[in-house]
């Protein structure tokens, strides 16, 4: 109390300052303060006698030489592959030894996708659809990874943080499911990629982050997208198991995804796979990539390192495929796509009244009024709208 009175004299007699003085002079560890400290978990109260850093934020040794860590971009994380560019297995112990039927399914999926891309790209040029994005050159990333998943696994085509939440819920439900989230090296620059990685690691979620690094985000090359060693190098910064693979090698993609899946579910931790590949086509039907890259560059990838060609060489070297089957399959897959396309083309577009459905689970009064207003408008002015293309 005497101490407090002294403080009040030093700091001034006004109530606020007197109180401040009281607080300043209290000894730490005095009963009042100690009780007011919140519970801390996993922190030592008594420093050890060794001269080691005790910071809660990092587990590391001291160093007495000033030296900045040089980011390593000249010789970055190596690229895992199973086949060479001619489709030959390099290290036999990495060969997944998949049965013929399964490998043929890989091949047919990749080529069917390629066929669909060609037909749909053309149809946009003809004005039959409004917009399309092709997958040229990246077929190995899709098929190799998808083949390594279970039918009950959850796939997010983007939405990185939502994927992490879904993985957390799957873990809580003991669902034995992995969540896989696909994104490009451009999307990896978004804040939500950072959020997704950090949450997945801290909350221990069974998720595979699959980054397709295809060299371009529309027209932006990787040299303008990042300065570090790609996306794989970021994983360890979050505490995430990471790997870089040859995305044009469907077996490498398969092996990495398969193992990541097994461990993500068994160990409840995230995995980051960066699949290196090349976007052979334009970004979309609204893009002409000759404006920002050379035709020679594109041709190199198309001719020298294409996932479909590499797998075909593998199949042919085993006698599981030949030119005749190739010809027949091309014809068959074209027919398949054309039939589906024509069937879809015949369907009218959804009714305009559906504009207001599913905004909420139940339609609120305001939206119902808007829906009715639209119906009245179309009654009077319908001739100005292409209503023939829509369901009633």
């Amino acid at each position: 109390m005497a101490v407090a009175a002294a403080a009040a004299r030093v700091w001034g007699s006004s109530r606020g300052l007197g109180q401040a003085g009281l607080l300043l002079l209290r000894r730490p560890g005095a009963r009042g303060l100690a009780r007011s400290l919140p519970q801390r978990q996993a922190q030592q109260h008594f420093p050890s006698l060794d001269d080691k850093p005790q910071f809660p934020g990092a587990s590391a040794e001291f160093v007495d030489k000033l030296e900045f860590i040089q980011p390593n971009v000249i010789s970055g994380i190596p690229v895992y592959r199973v086949m060479d560019r001619q489709g030959q297995i390099i290290n036999p112990s990495e060969d997944p030894h998949l049965p013929q039927e399964k490998v043929l399914k890989f091949y047919k999926s990749m080529t069917l996708l390629n066929t669909m891309d060609r037909i749909l790209y053309e149809s946009q040029r003809q004005g039959r659809i409004s917009f399309y994005m092709t997958n040229y050159g990246e077929e190995g990333t899709h098929v190799g990874s998808a083949a390594a998943l279970d039918n009950t696994d959850l796939v997010f085509g983007q939405y990185r943080e939502a994927a992490v939440g879904a993985a957390y819920a799957a873990k809580r439900a003991n669902a034995n499911r992995v969540v896989i989230c696909y994104f490009g090296e451009g999307a990896a620059s978004e804040g939500d990629a950072h959020a997704g990685f950090n949450f997945a690691a801290t909350l221990e979620c069974p998720i595979i982050f699959f980054c397709r690094n295809n060299g371009y985000a529309i027209s932006t090359p990787t040299s303008e997208q990042y300065r570090g060693d790609g996306i794989a190098a970021r994983g360890p910064g979050y505490g995430i198991m990471s790997i870089r693979v040859d995305g044009n090698d469907v077996f490498a993609v398969y092996n990495a995804t398969k193992e990541a899946r097994r461990r993500a579910v068994a160990e409840n931790q995230p995995f980051l796979i960066e699949a290196m590949t090349y976007r052979i086509g334009h970004h979309s039907t609204s893009d002409d990539s000759s404006a920002y890259r050379s035709v020679d560059e594109v041709n190199y990838w198309d001719k020298q390192d294409h996932p479909i060609s590499r797998l075909r060489h593998y199949l042919q070297s085993r006698g599981w495929w030949d030119d005749e089957q190739e010809k027949a399959w091309r014809k068959q897959s074209r027919k398949k796509v054309m039939e589906a396309f024509e069937q879809a083309e015949r369907k009218p577009k959804p009714s305009p009244s559906l504009l207001f459905s599913d905004v909420y689970q139940e339609m609120p009064a305001q939206l119902r009024k808007q829906q009715e207003a639209l119906a009245r408008h179309l009654q009077t002015y319908g001739e100005h709208y292409p209503l023939d293309h829509f369901e009633k």
């Binding site: 943080e161 939440g165 819920a169 804040g191 939500d192 950090n198």
Partner: protein, 277 residues
């Protein structure tokens, strides 16, 4: 109970009844900076009440993902002033999830809670009332309670509601407002305004803390001016109860709306233009 205790009670009821329900956000594990989650981690476990990293877009995005699997996600944003990094997730993702998938998927079991409104010493980033930004976004619901009893019932309705909801809690009332609140669960319907006091000369509309201000205004008006005010607590900002407000204005012929948020583009403009239309 006071307001924060009423919130805790609602959260306790939810986690007890729904085994999928989880609560997460910054500092919720030890009880939260406003003590709304005190005791819940000990009672329900660390996998159900847990801290996240400091990242609002992550908190909401993560919550959307949980809700998409069908589990109940109750996300806390530490102050409504910090909800803006999550704006993209709320408006572009949560609000549109059901619509863009043709009802194949939804994140209806997501509720986002945030302390809201002025508190006296909050300054720029601990005082905001951002409801107007969200009122412009179809697909979500926005709710603001005026008292502990209202808060528990409305929060439970938000959690049960099959659409993503934002629940703003007037922070100045956390300790200051005290009333009788049942410990058992109960719900107060969303999108229903409440006529808190009937009157005949003018309709006064407000939500949250401001309801108490205009109640005072109503009694001052009666006493000093002999004016009879009908006081309405809007409660749900989106979708808002047009019928109750319009019915009242038809009766009184005059409308005054009062809110803490900035005047231009504030939610009063939506109400007044609708009423006049």
């Amino acid at each position: 109970m006071n307001l924060f205790q009423a919130i805790t009670s609602a959260l306790d009821n939810s986690l007890a009844k729904d085994p999928t329900a989880v609560i997460f956000g910054e500092d919720v594990a030890f009880g939260g900076v406003f003590r709304c989650t005190v005791g819940l981690r000990d009672k329900y476990g660390k996998d159900r009440v847990f801290n996240t990293p400091l990242c609002e877009q992550g908190i909401v995005g993560f919550g959307i993902g949980i809700a998409v699997t069908g589990a109940t996600a109750i996300a806390e944003i530490q102050f409504a002033d910090y909800i803006f990094p999550a704006f993209d997730q709320i408006v572009n993702e949560a609000a549109k999830y059901r619509y863009r998938s043709g009802d194949l998927f939804n994140c209806g079991s997501l509720t986002i809670r945030a302390p809201w409104g002025c508190v006296g010493h909050g300054a720029l980033y601990h005082s905001q009332s951002p409801e107007a930004f969200f009122a412009h976004c179809p697909g979500i619901k926005v709710v603001v309670p005026r008292s502990p009893f209202q808060a528990k019932g409305l929060l439970l309705s938000c959690i049960e509601d099959k659409n993503p909801c934002i629940f703003f809690e007037p922070k100045i009332l956390y300790r200051a407002a005290v009333e009788q609140v049942p410990v058992e669960p109960y719900s107060i319907p969303l999108s229903q305004a409440e006529v808190v006091q009937e009157g005949s000369d003018v309709t006064l509309v407000a939500w949250g803390t401001q309801v108490h201000v205009i109640r005072e205004v109503a009694s001052m008006a009666q006493e000093k001016l002999g004016v009879s005010c009908e006081v309405i607590d809007l409660r749900t900002i989106l979708p808002w109860d047009m019928d109750t407000v319009c019915k009242s204005v038809i009766k009184t012929g005059r409308l005054l709306i009062s809110h803490e948020a900035p005047l231009t583009g504030g939610f009063a403009s939506e109400i007044s233009s609708t009423v006049q239309y």
